[in-house]
Each structure stands twice: as C-alpha cells, then as structure tokens.
Amino acid sequence: METLVAAITIFVLAIFVGFEVITKVPPTLHTPLMSGSNAISGITIVGAILSAGTQHTTLTTVLGFLAVVFATINVVGGFLVTHRMLEMFRRK
C-alpha cells in the first residue's frame, strides 16, 4: 500500500508539473509539442527491453519484442520528426 501511495504522489505531482510546463508552449509549436511528447511516451521502451531480454516464456518474449518495435518507432520517429519541424522554425 505504501508503494502505491508513493507512486500516486509522483503521478499527481508530475501532472501538475506537466500542466505548468505545457501551458507555456505557444500555439505555433503545438504540432512539434505533440510529436515530441509522443516520443517521450515511448519511455515504455524500458519495460519492453526487459520483457524481450529476460525471456521468461515464449509469449512474454514475443510481446516484449513487439513492444520494443512499437516503442522504438515512437522514440526514433517522434524525436526525429520533431527535430525536423523545429529546425524549420529556427531558420529565418
């Protein structure tokens, strides 16, 4: 129960931080914000790596592998495309 409360505490505080930080993003950058935050949600990749690598059963390994593929697309595609867009905003 204690770990749960600690996790919920972190969850709630992180949402507050998120609201504070994101409200300062100007509308001009809303598309890069979405693709960039998308890349961040690919953080699931750490769980995927462990499932694919520890190989408990065939099923968990397959699920882990698929998750690695999906999350890597998210991370690589997300950060790259965000970079591509932001470069366009920077140059003048």
Binding site: T44, F65, V69, R91
Partner: protein
C-alpha cells in the same frame, strides 16, 4: 549496476524530459529542448540495457533495428501536410507498446508464480484498456486522415447505446482481471473489447474534429505509459507518462474551447454528418455573391498597406503554402505589411498551419494567433482567406441556433475588403452556408488555392 544508481539515472532522464518540454516555450530554445528530451531517453535506454536480468540481446537489437528503421523512414519522408497522420500513428504505437508491456509483465508474473498486488492488477487492466483504445482509435484516425476511409462522421442508429454497452463490457472485464488475475484469457478479452471500443468511438468523429481526437489520443498514449509505470512500479514511466497525459489534455481543452464545444459534444455529436440543403444555400447566396478576377484583386493589393492571410485546411490540400509565401514576399517588397491569422483549429491538428508555413520559410513572428490578430482586422485593407471556411463564418457570432454558435472566429469580415479563394461555394465541415461569401465587402475568387495565388502573383507583377 546497483538499483539505486539505476533509479538515479531514471530520475535524471525524467528531469531531462521536463527540461525538454520547457524548451518548447520558444522557437529559439525548442531545438535544444527536443535534444534534451532525446538525451534523457538515451540515458534511460542505456541504463536499462545494463540490467543483469537480461539474458539475450538479440531480440532487443532486432527490435531496435526494425523499429528504428521504420521510425526514421517515417520521420524523414513524411510531408508536412501529412503530419497529423504521422502523429496519429505514433500515438497508436505508444499505446500499443504500453499495453503489450503490461501484458508481458502479467504473464511473467504468472510464469514465476508471483503473488500479484492490487496495484499491479488494476494498473495492468488500465494499461490494456487505454492502450487498446489508443491503438485502434489512432489507426482509425490515421485511416481517415490518409483518406483510406471516408473522413466523414459515421453515425448510425443505436450507436451511443452500442458504445456504452461495449464500454460497460470493458469495465466488467477490467474488474474481472483484477479479481482473477491468474486467468490469462481475461487480459486478451479485455484487449479485444477495448480495441472494438477504440474503433467504434473514433468512427463517428468527422474530419475537422480531428484536432480534438488526435490531442485526446495523445493524452491517452501518455496515460497508458503511466499505467504501465504503475504495473512495473517504475517512477520514470509514471512521470513521463503523466507529462504526456497532461500535455494532450491541455491541447484537447484548447481545441474544444476554440470551437466552443464540449468534449462530449465533439466525441458524441457526430457533427458534419448532415448535408446543407440547396434552399438554405440559395437564401444566403442568391444574387449576392461577387466573383473577381486576379487582375482586380491585384489592383487592390497594390495599394494595400496591411494584408492578412487566413489559411485553412484547403491550403494544405492544394499545397499552396509556398505560393502564399511568395505572394507575401512580393507584397512586402512593395512596403505592404503581411500577417498570417491562425485559428487554433485550422487544419487537422493543433499547430498544423504553423508547421506548413514554417516549412515555406514564413518567419514565426508573422504568424498571429486569434486574440492577437482580431483587433487588427478593422485596420486591414485586404484579408485573403485561403481554404478556410467555418473559422471565418460570422454566423458563429450572430445565429444562436447555428451548429457553430459561439465559436470564436477570425473577424475577417471587419477588414475593408475580403478576398476568399475557394473552388466553389460548397459548405465547410459544419455543413452550413457562410454569409461572409455574400457580404458587401467580399470578393470570391473561384479557383484552386495554389493556382489562384500563382495567378495573383503573376497579375501583380504584370501591373507593376
């Protein structure tokens, strides 16, 4: 690596994510912000790879190669007009990855014969539910945006009842999973039911409501990651997931406010499914619409001191952004001030127009948001509307019965002259006629967007 070091590295990664998002507060710092976020991700991945419980790296590397290649190709190839589709797909993949990781964790626990905590089971159910909805909802959004299926709202009798039923089934399966976590079958049933829910709740949402849906799915993909964080008791996942969840929620809220509609109305309203009647159109347009040639418009632009360009989704469709920028440059070289008025829901995702114009080298200082630009219209000589319709429809201000009543609009009708570049008088997404097209100070310029702007440039150069 000892656990405390791993967790410290995860804390560093989380901090970098926050700094990264903070960098997006300004175009100048945004590139660095994105790099900080990517660095955080790299740290998190490297530290995880050093985990002692990993027996084999082959599949992990294979996954990196396949996913990395696919992701890089998508990111490099996607045209700026296709960005909404790309983000929709990424949302879906994020949701799917989270649900898969939660499932893998559940089956690992089964194989090891572990006693499962309530936190673990509830979070697994949440992750499977949100992940399934996100993946399939995003695929439908992608198919609509890519025009693989009709972009119109798909509505049928009993739709809400059916959706409510399936939502109830999902909830029941979730509770079952929590009550009997040792049954593998329940997880799969929950994934299947949430997939159906994802498809059915996205099909009734039409093209112009896509900005809301994509924002919402963006939020879901974050929440799915956070739920998986609860499954794995991993604080970094919880932090990163809730940052993304908050971001998507804020964007959803901004989009809804920009249409003066509640989220429930967007999700369940099925707006755009009804077509406008001919009689209604005639009442507004008959005998009042004035068409103009490029030469006439060029003459007005020659003497204009301030011109405001109002782009909409139509500009993206006809790929007119480069032509628009060339026109703006030409006007500026003659001393005319040129600004761009961007409505929050113009295009198919938040900030879509801004990205298109940035690609065409329009400086971001010239892109004005609604609150900034509306007071300028009364002192504007020419407003050029290209490919926008509902966001400049004055009915939003005057007709309380209109489906767009109360929606904040760009006040282009207050400019001295309004030029509307449009192929025909066909209605916008809301399916209603636009009295702006028949206003005394409006000139219709019937043509494809890109061709129209190029002809204007030509006429301007001829006149000089």
């Amino acid at each position: 690596m000892p656990a405390y070091l791993v967790n410290l590295a995860y804390l560093l990664a989380s901090a970098l994510f926050i700094f990264g998002l903070k960098g997006l507060a300004h175009p100048r710092t945004a590139v660095r912000g994105n790099l900080l976020g990517a660095t955080g991700m790299l740290i998190a991945i490297v530290v995880t790879l050093a985990d002692r419980s990993i027996l084999s790296y082959e599949l992990i590397v294979a996954g990196f190669v396949v996913g990395g290649f696919a992701g890089a190709v998508m990111a490099v190839k996607v045209p700026m007009t296709g960005m909404p589709q790309m983000v929709a797909l990424l949302n879906g993949f994020g949701g799917a990855a989270s649900a898969l990781v939660a499932g893998a964790a559940l089956f690992e626990a089964h194989a090891a014969g572990l006693e499962l905590s309530r936190q673990f089971t509830v979070a697994t159910a949440a992750s499977a539910l949100i992940g399934g909805v996100t993946f399939w909802g995003s695929l439908v959004a992608f198919a609509k945006l890519q025009e693989l299926i009709s972009g119109h709202a798909v509505v049928f009798r009993g739709q809400h009842v059916l959706n409510a039923l399936i939502a109830a089934v999902c909830l029941a399966l979730g509770i079952w999973l929590v009550a009997e976590p040792e049954t593998d079958r329940v997880y799969w049933l929950l994934v299947a039911a949430s997939s159906v829910l994802g498809v059915l709740t996205t099909i009734p949402i039409g093209g112009a409501d896509m900005p809301v849906v994509i924002s919402l799915l963006n939020s879901y993909s974050g929440l799915a990651a956070a739920a998986t964080g609860f499954v794995l008791s991993n604080n970094m996942l919880i932090i990163a997931g809730s940052l993304v969840g908050a971001s998507g929620l804020i964007l959803t809220q901004i989009m809804c406010r920009a249409m003066n509609r509640s989220l429930a109305n967007v999700l369940f309203g099925g707006l755009g499914a009804v077509a406008v009647s001919k009689a209604e159109e005639d009442k507004v347009y008959a005998g009042k619409v004035k068409a103009a040639s490029p030469e006439e418009i060029a003459m007005m632009l020659e003497t204009a001191r301030r011109v405001i360009i109002v782009p909409g989704y139509g500009m993206a469709v006809s790929q007119a952004q480069h032509a628009v920028q060339a026109l703006a440059k030409l006007l500026e070289s003659r001393g005319t001030e040129v600004l761009y008025a961007i409505h929050p829901v113009a295009g198919r995702m938040p900030g879509h127009m801004n990205v298109l114009l940035a690609e065409a080298d329009v400086p971001y200082e010239a892109l004005k948001d609604m609150d900034e630009v509306n007071p300028l219209f009364p002192e504007t000589d020419v407003a050029i509307v290209i490919g926008a319709n509902d966001v400049v429809n004055p009915l939003a201000r005057t007709d309380p019965k209109s489906p767009i009543a109360g929606m904040p609009i760009l006040d282009v009708d207050k400019a001295r002259t309004v030029v509307v570049i449009k192929r025909s008088l066909s209605p916008g997404f809301a399916g209603i006629p636009n009295p702006l097209f028949a206003a005394d100070n409006t000139l219709m310029y019937f043509s494809d967007g890109k061709k129209a702007v190029n002809d204007l440039i030509h006429a301007l150069k001829e006149a000089a």
